[in-house]
């Protein structure tokens, strides 16, 4: 089986009849970085949240999402919880919002893994290994710190360490670098590449930054007003866009280049 995730005719509608997503179908292949690109309000985040069924109660969902051949929408809440934050894990935009400001990183990491790991005796080892994989050198120092003592880049590396500590098969990263400085963004982008290359991670990378998507992704899905307007290899999107909106986006990107 090549695809790890299959989305079929996904439609999400909110109570005021606003269709956040409409008629979305695509596959995510094992070991690829799939970029989901679109502007604010296009439905990128709604798409990410539907994959783990984290949408608000009022949202009406139609269609199917298969993760490793299991239909996510047919799962009960407790079955879903076995996937969410484990087999499928998340990285969010603002790392300061993802942590408890009153706990050291070590405590938070232990608490986090206590819920997720069956075998509690390996917690310390998993913490150490994950931080190592996220390419953090001063592990002891980081673990002893509170969130406000770390920089945005350091915290985002720690969030990545959290996310990979559960050995997920799919990682969903929602604008993970938009809050970071350019020099840090470049380093985090390289970290994602390494995670794909060395650990075979499949990543859905949501971003509005076309340049970053071009650098990082294997394929790109372009979302516009809740619809998937184009999905193709990166080179195709940039050199030979089929959809007029994609063309417009790529043109704006080339103007900045």
């Amino acid at each position: 089986m090549r695809e790890i995730l299959r989305i079929e005719n996904l439609e999400v509608e909110y109570e005021n009849k606003v269709k956040a997503l409409e008629n979305i179908s695509f596959d995510v292949y094992k070991g690829e970085i799939l970029g989901v690109v679109g502007e604010s309000g296009s439905g990128k985040t709604t798409l990410a949240l539907s994959i783990v069924n984290l949408l608000p109660e009022v949202a009406i969902k139609k269609g199917n999402i298969f993760f490793e051949n299991i239909n996510i929408f047919s799962l009960k809440e407790n079955e879903l919880n076995k996937l969410r934050g484990k087999k499928i894990n998340f990285i969010f935009q603002s790392p300061y919002d993802s942590f408890d400001p009153l706990q050291t990183m070590a405590n938070q990491f232990r608490e986090y893994l206590k819920e997720k790991l069956e075998d509690k005796s390996i917690i310390e080892k998993v913490i150490y290994d994950s931080l190592k994989k996220a390419r953090i050198d001063n592990i002891e120092e980081i673990l002893g710190s509170y969130p406000h003592q770390l920089s945005g880049g350091q915290l985002q590396r720690v969030s990545i360490a959290f996310a990979i500590s559960t050995s997920p098969s799919l990682l969903i990263a929602d604008e993970p670098t938009s809050n970071l400085d350019v020099t840090v963004e470049s380093q985090i982008a390289h970290l994602f590449l390494k995670l794909k290359k060395f650990f075979g991670l499949t990543i859905i990378f949501i971003t509005h930054n076309l340049e970053l998507a071009k650098f990082l992704c294997d394929r790109i899905a372009v979302i516009y007003q809740g619809r998937l307007v184009e999905i193709a290899q990166v080179e195709e999107i940039f050199n030979n866009p089929k959809n007029s909106y994609t063309e417009f986006l790529v043109d704006s990107f080339k103007r900045v280049e």
């Binding site: 020099t183 390289h190 930054n209 970053l212 986006l249 704006s252």
Partner: protein
């Protein structure tokens, strides 16, 4: 020259002394776009706040033309001539008040205009920044990010300032909207003969609009030059790093944990013994200079 700072310093005394702005000589030329580029915490926003008189400098002076605006007596000169546009436009407008009211506060209230007159006057300005005049009685949350940023720009230019400080004016916006705002800014600069201080961390965006750029790190200007020279050949290791990062060529920076001397010494791959002391000023030509031993 329309504005310059002389050896400007602003230190914050907390547990340790934070040298937010540490001896900066900045120069803004008339009808030009001067960019100030640096990353979070480098002191660029503190510098903007010093120019606007929000902070009192610990040392140094700021001149608008020949008037020393660091002198509290000249505060009105700042208000009349320098305006700022912030990154997040929703934070700069009162969410409970209509656009009309925000513009009213900026100009009409000061000049005691009648409501009817003010309305026509504002519609004129909304046209100039490229939005439909019927948004005048809407609230900020009813507008898109790009529209609200246009309103903030209108509010800034409605007082007829000579200098506009743009503090990351497009980082909140989508790229397609950001480009439109840049076009608008270029147009306004000509129509109102404005001078800009464009603050940003994004060198590529800066290249689209700026004439001259100051690169800031650790509270100091470490390199400055005409924008195309900086892009063609940068001299300071930090500027080179910024340029690499803009193309995602920067894989990892190692921090060396060394203090004192050159501000960039902690990260500089070329650092040597001499870097313990303040770096010398080197001139590439009369417009392009940097501070480094190399």
């Amino acid at each position: 020259m329309i504005l310059k700072t002389e050896n400007l310093k602003k230190y914050f005394f907390k547990k340790e002394t934070i040298k937010a702005v540490d001896g900066v000589n900045l120069l803004i030329k008339k009808n030009r776009v001067t960019a100030l580029v640096g990353e979070s915490g480098c002191g660029k926003t503190t510098l903007a706040k010093l120019i606007l008189g929000f902070y009192k400098p610990c040392e140094g002076r700021i001149f608008f033309k020949n008037i020393e605006i660091t002198n509290p007596k000249n505060e009105k000169v700042i208000r009349d001539n320098i305006q700022i546009v912030f990154q997040n436009p929703y934070n700069s407008l009162d969410p409970y008040k209509t656009i009309f009211f925000s513009l009213w506060e900026a100009r009409a209230k000061v000049e005691k205009l009648k409501k009817r007159e003010a309305e026509d006057f504002f519609k004129e300005y909304l046209k100039k920044v490229g939005i439909e005049e019927n948004i005048l009685f809407r609230f900020p949350h009813q507008l898109s990010g790009g529209q609200v940023q246009r309103v903030s720009i209108a509010r800034a230019i409605i007082r007829n300032p000579q200098i506009l400080i743009l503090d990351e004016p497009t980082s909140f916006l989508d790229i397609t909207t950001a480009l439109k705002i840049l076009d608008l800014l270029k147009e306004l600069k000509e129509n109102f003969s404005l001078s800009y201080l464009f603050i940003s961390h994004n060198l590529k965006l800066v290249k689209k609009i700026a004439d001259y750029v100051f690169i800031m790190f650790g509270g100091k200007i470490i390199e400055a030059g005409p924008i195309h020279q900086i892009f063609n050949k940068a001299f300071h290791p930090y500027t080179k790093l910024l340029l690499e990062a803009a193309d995602y060529k920067l894989e990892e920076i190692t921090s060396f944990k060394r203090e004192g001397g050159c501000v960039f010494r902690k990260y500089c791959p070329y650092q040597e013994e001499k870097c313990k002391y303040p770096p010398p000023l080197k001139k590439v030509d009369d417009k392009h200079f940097y501070y480094c031993i190399r």
